[in-house]
Every structure is written in C-alpha cells, then in structure tokens.
Amino acid sequence: MQSIKNNLIQLNSIEVNFDGFKAVNEFDFGVKAGELRCLIGPNGAGKTTVLDLICGKTKSSKGTIIFNEQDITNKEEFIIARKGIGRKFQIPSVFKELTVKENLYVALNSSLGFFNNIIKFFNHTDQEKIDKIAEFVGLKDDLEKQAQFLSHGQTQWLEIALVVLKDPSLILMDEPTAGMTNYETSQTVELFNKLKETRTLIVVEHDMGFVKEISDIVSVMHEGKLLAEGKTKDIENNEKVKEAYLGNKGITNA
C-alpha cells in the first residue's frame, strides 16, 4: 500500500447518503501525483458519485477529502475547480450554441471574476492559446463551427479541451469513450497518453480494452465500497471482481 501522505488526492472513509441509500459507503481512495488511475465497477457501484464527491457536485454525509494537503470536503464547486480539479462529464457538456472557438475562450485560464471579464475582449494571445489547444484535440478546422454540429467524439474532445485549458493538476473523466467509434477511441488513447505526462487523472470507464491501454493501476468499486485495487492483469483474474460482475463471466466481457 502506498503511503497516504504522498497522495495528491485522498478520500477518507467517505460516505454519501441518498435518502437512506448509501451510494458510497466508507470509501477510502487515494491517487498519487502523476498517476492515471482507472475506476471501474458494475453499474450502480458508485463510480460517478465518487467523481461528483471530489468535484463538489454531491455533498458527503461523512468522511473527508484532502486535495493537495487542503481539506476540500463539501466546498463549493467553483472553489474546488479553482484549486485545480477539472471535471469531464459522462454526457458531454459543452456550450452548444457557441462556436468551438467561443467554447474554448470561456475555458481559457485567465481571470474568473465578473468585473475583470466585463472589460476583457478577445485578443491575439487568446487566439494563439486557442489554436494550440485546438490542435492538441484535433479541432483546428472546426473553430468557427457551432458546438451542436460537432460529432459525438468531437464533442467529447471539445469538453476534454475545456477541462485541460483550465490547467488543472487533477482531471476527473467520466466515461470519456462512451459512444465513440473504434477509431475515435484509439485517438482518445493517444490523447490520454499525452495528458498522462503532465497531469494526474482519475478515469471512470467501462471499456476494458481502453483501460488496459492507458492505465497501470485499477481500482474496482462494488456497492459503494472499494472491492479491489491493483495491476490490470491481476484485477482481471481476481475472483471477487469476477463475482461482482453479473454472470461471473468476468470483467473482460462486462
């Protein structure tokens, strides 16, 4: 077991109570800086809730969350975001009526306060930064397109770009490859391997093929608790994990 002190993010016996149903129950979880951790588990295991807890979307009823040696338990979403945690949602959420360029401009990491922004207008440095990130996620030719006309995969990438632009030290990704074609998934693998070099990531994912491509250590959740944690290979052969997935067919066929 790794030492808790070195962890960038640490959840201590965290608990969420949805009207009596404990979606997350006494959950302990930690990720070191620079790691790419995949969080897997059967439907309803509480994976998304864990991400919601970290970024402040859901409030916990017990336990603490420590990020970068600061207590961020139940803080407001924008405060947590400003501390350096970025969140990508399961259903891609971008600004549909704005162009790709405008989307990226909203996320561009500069001042966040209202009074600074009311006197701020688009300029050349902004354009350069936007071109750079658009290149990174392969949206360079679509800058003037309205976001609602992007393909599903492009929308996912646009949201990833929005999150990356904020330059967070920890990125939470909820099923980034959901609904993607094989080609798009392989592109995303490439993207993640690039992201991995500079940031810490927690990725919730169902696609085991994708998990194997990007992650070394996998955490498995079941009924709100941590079921197992370890190398991808070991997890696939773990009896407890196999049992947790319906039909005992094993994780690979889930």
């Binding site: 924008f78 959420s93 600004f95 704005l98 405008e102 209202f114 009311i118 006309f149």
Partner: protein, 348 residues
C-alpha cells in the same frame, strides 16, 4: 474575402439605425407622433433589458416590468416635487397627499427634491432589488420555471405595496400632473423634439453599451451559463455572481427605460409594473428574437407600433388583439429565433 461586409458589422448597423432615428423629426414634425415613437423606444429599451437577462443569460424574469415601474416612480417623484403649486397644499405637498390628509412630506420623498437624486434612484433602486433577488434566487440555486415564479411574485408584492400605500404613492391613480424635465434652461417637453432627442440619445448609449457588454468576455460567459450552467461552474466561475450581475444590468436598463417613459407620458402608474406589461415584454423578445439585443428592440418597436396603429384604425378597432395574437403564434411556429433569426447567418 478582403471586402468588409458592413451589414455584418453590428457597430455599423447600430450606428446607421440610431442615425436614422435622429433624423426622424426632420420628416415627421407632428409632436403627437414623435411622442408615440418615443414611447415605443422606451418599450424597446425594456425589451433590451429582458433580452440581456433572458436571451443571453437564460434567466426568464417574468417580473421584468418591476424595474421599469420603479424607475418610472423615481422619476415621477422628482418631477412631482417640481410642479407649480397649483394643486399643492401647505408646504408644497403633492396633491394626492393633501387629499389623503398627509401634513408633512414623508422622509423618503425628501431627497427627491434633487433631480439628480431622482435619476440616480431610478437606476439604483431597481439594481438593489436585482441584487436582493439575485442573492436569494441564485444563492438558493433556483432555476428554470422557479425563477419565473419568484420574479413574478416579487413584482406582484411591490405592485400591491404601491397600490396599498395610496397616501405615499398615489395608489391606483399613480403620480400624475408632473412637471417637464428641466436641466437648467434646457427643457424637455414631452410633445416637443427635445424629449425625443433625449430619448434617442439615451437609446443610442444603451444599445452601444449592451453591444460592448455582449462582445466582452463576461457577455460570452453569460451565454455559456445559458447553455450549460454546471459546465461553467466546474470551470471555476462563480455562476451566482454572473447571473446576479446580468440581472443587475438588466434592472438598470429597465429603470432607465421607465424614467424615460415617465418623461414622455407625464405620469407614473402602477400598471407600469403590471403582469400585462411584464408578459408583453416576453412576447416582444420572443417575436424579435430574444438572443439578439437588436432583434428584441425591433420586436418591441414593431409590436407596440403595430398595436398603436391597429387599435386606432376603425377597421381593426375590435380585432387588433386577435391580429397581434396571430402574429405571435406565427412567429413562434415559424420563427423560433424571432425576426433576428431571419438575418442570423447559420454557423455550421
């Protein structure tokens, strides 16, 4: 293309529009029509105010007319204290106070002796109301239909308060018999070109101000909030502050529109903050295109002038509301983005 398309440039379009309105008195010298057009412009500015909060930020404020009404009352209070004392009792009291056996000017009327204070209050009072509303609505994370209900309810509360406190507000009759607006030797007679020029000048200022606001980064964040509030929040923006700010700007513009309206109508009435007016603004914006400031403005001009024209002609005396209703239904069915949608270049 290297050729600049002037008609795509909003600054040029706005400038041209304002210029044409400035020249209007040269063509129309009937004071009655100038006064009419002035009132339509006031309603246009009210539509601009709603377009900013509803069309840009996604706050469906059904109590939008309350800002208009409050601005109008502030101006009326100042102008009332400037009237010649034909109708006043001892100590220059407004006539309706005398009828209600008030013997001393209430403390909150005192500062309105100063016209500058009246103008300041006409903007400040609506803005303060917007801050209070914003604090509770957006602090409590109310959204969608709840925002509409709360804002509507807040407006009705203030409407009832003004109706009820007849001795201090003029109640159902409002504040009538106002003096004309005067700055030193400059007099803005409601039926003269001077008031018209004043209103077109303020309109020009507000149109360009909103254009700059919507072009700023904050304006873009407003639109982002309308599209996906949570996404904005998780990018580190304090959404509540932005929404409140949008409502405040909207309130300030609404207040200015109300003040101008009182200047041209020469009275203030509780109907200025009625549900009827508030819902009409929603229709103006919907027809003109709520996501376009200019579209909403033109929508208000077209509908209010259409109403004025139809209700005065003998043929449509009894059917004009029917025609307006049909126009509204047609625009909702076929122009979901309003009149502005026709000119909007699709960005695909």
């Amino acid at each position: 293309m290297t050729k600049i398309n002037f008609f795509k440039n909003k600054f040029f379009l706005y400038g041209l529009f304002c210029f044409v309105l400035f020249l209007f008195p040269l063509v129309v010298d009937d004071p009655f029509y100038l006064n009419k057009i002035s009132t339509y412009i006031c309603f246009g500015l009210l539509a601009v105010s709603l377009s900013l909060s509803w069309g840009y930020t996604g706050i469906l404020n059904l109590g939008n007319a309350v800002f208009f009404g409050l601005g109008s009352y502030c101006m009326a209070m100042s102008l009332k204290l400037k009237t010649d004392s034909i109708h006043t009792g001892s100590g220059g009291l407004p006539d309706f106070m005398v009828w209600n056996n008030i013997t001393e000017l209430p403390w909150f009327w005192e500062p309105f002796y100063s016209l500058s204070f009246g103008i300041f209050a006409g903007i400040a009072v609506p803005v303060i109301l917007a801050i209070i509303l914003g604090y509770f609505i957006f602090g409590g994370r109310a959204s969608g239909v709840y925002v509409a209900i709360i804002t509507l309810a807040a407006m009705i509360v203030i409407y009832l308060l003004i109706m009820d406190q007849q001795a201090y507000t003029g109640g159902f009759n409002g504040i009538t018999d106002l003096s004309s607006l005067k700055f030193g030797n400059l007099k803005f007679d409601a039926y003269g070109p001077s008031a018209y020029y004043l209103i077109v000048s303020v309109m020009t200022f507000i149109l360009f101000l909103t254009l700059v606001i919507t072009k700023s980064r904050a304006g873009l964040i407003f639109q982002a909030i309308r599209d996906d509030e949570n996404r904005v929040r998780f990018l580190g923006y304090n959404v509540g502050v932005y929404k409140t700010a949008s409502l405040c700007i909207s309130a300030g513009i609404g207040g200015v529109a109300g003040m101008l309206y009182t200047i041209v109508m020469e009275f203030a009435s509780p109907t200025f903050m009625s549900i009827t007016l508030s819902l009409s603004v929603v229709i103006w914006c919907a027809v003109g295109g709520r996501q376009s400031i200019f579209g909403s403005f033109v929508g208000a001009l077209v509908i209010t002038s259409g109403q004025g024209f139809l209700s005065e002609s003998e043929t449509f005396l009894h059917t004009w509301t029917l025609i307006m209703g049909m126009l509204f239904i047609l625009s909702v069915l076929f122009l979901p983005k309003g009149l502005a949608g026709i000119f909007d270049q699709k960005r695909k």
